[in-house]
Amino acid sequence: MVPMEYYLVVSTIMFFAGIYGFFTRRNLLAILISIELILNSVDINFAVFNRFLYFDHPEGFFFALFAIGISAAETAVAIAIIINIYRNIRNIQAGKLDNMKY
């Protein structure tokens, strides 16, 4: 049986890799990929806490399940917005989004 702290350290490293990517990347899709890393690490955390501490109450399991579904929906809408941005200004660097519509 693997101790619980090992899983938590792994998910923490993934979380802060996602935060580093969110701070430093300029491409909008790369920022979205970093957000996916953050959400994934949080799901691992929920699953690990539920499995080791509260196995009779699967609340953490269902939170992770619903979080996976919700992040899929949010990714789809964000990519639709990014495609719309690309259609308008032909560029998806975060620094170039500095003009309002009118």
Binding site: I13, N27, G69
Partner: protein, 167 residues
Amino acid sequence: MELVVFCILAAAIVVFSVLTVTTQRILRSATYLLFVLFATAGIYFELNYAFLGAVQLTVYAGGIIVLYVFSILLTSPDGDKLATKLPKSKFFAGLVAAVAGAVLCIFITLSHTFPVTHFTPGELGMKQIGFALLGTEKYQYMLPFEAISVLLLACIIGGIMIARKRG
């Protein structure tokens, strides 16, 4: 034996997630994200949460990565183009923030003793998941199930409305 499998999965997660956020080419970033998601599903399977691992594989590794690859190839004509140069100050600020946060969180995690006296071996059965997901008792999840279906419908309609061809 479990420790060996966990070490392989953990090494894969750490290496590929760091590579995801530091590589210059965005298509490689999406590929490394795919490997991270596979390793995460492996961790769910090791925790005996087979349903969660299967959902992770189908939704994340099978759906979201495909979406990302499509959108990368749609929005940059040469999907392999190198990104613009990162200014040094931003790089150091991001690195210091991420490393400081990671050290703080890992220190707090390792210095706290979790009460794992009641680790029940075995797996969460499919029957129990089914009754909990579609039941209407106090701790059952019929309402979030229906709410997430409404959310998915709204996201489908919203995505089509935003990205449709105009004019």
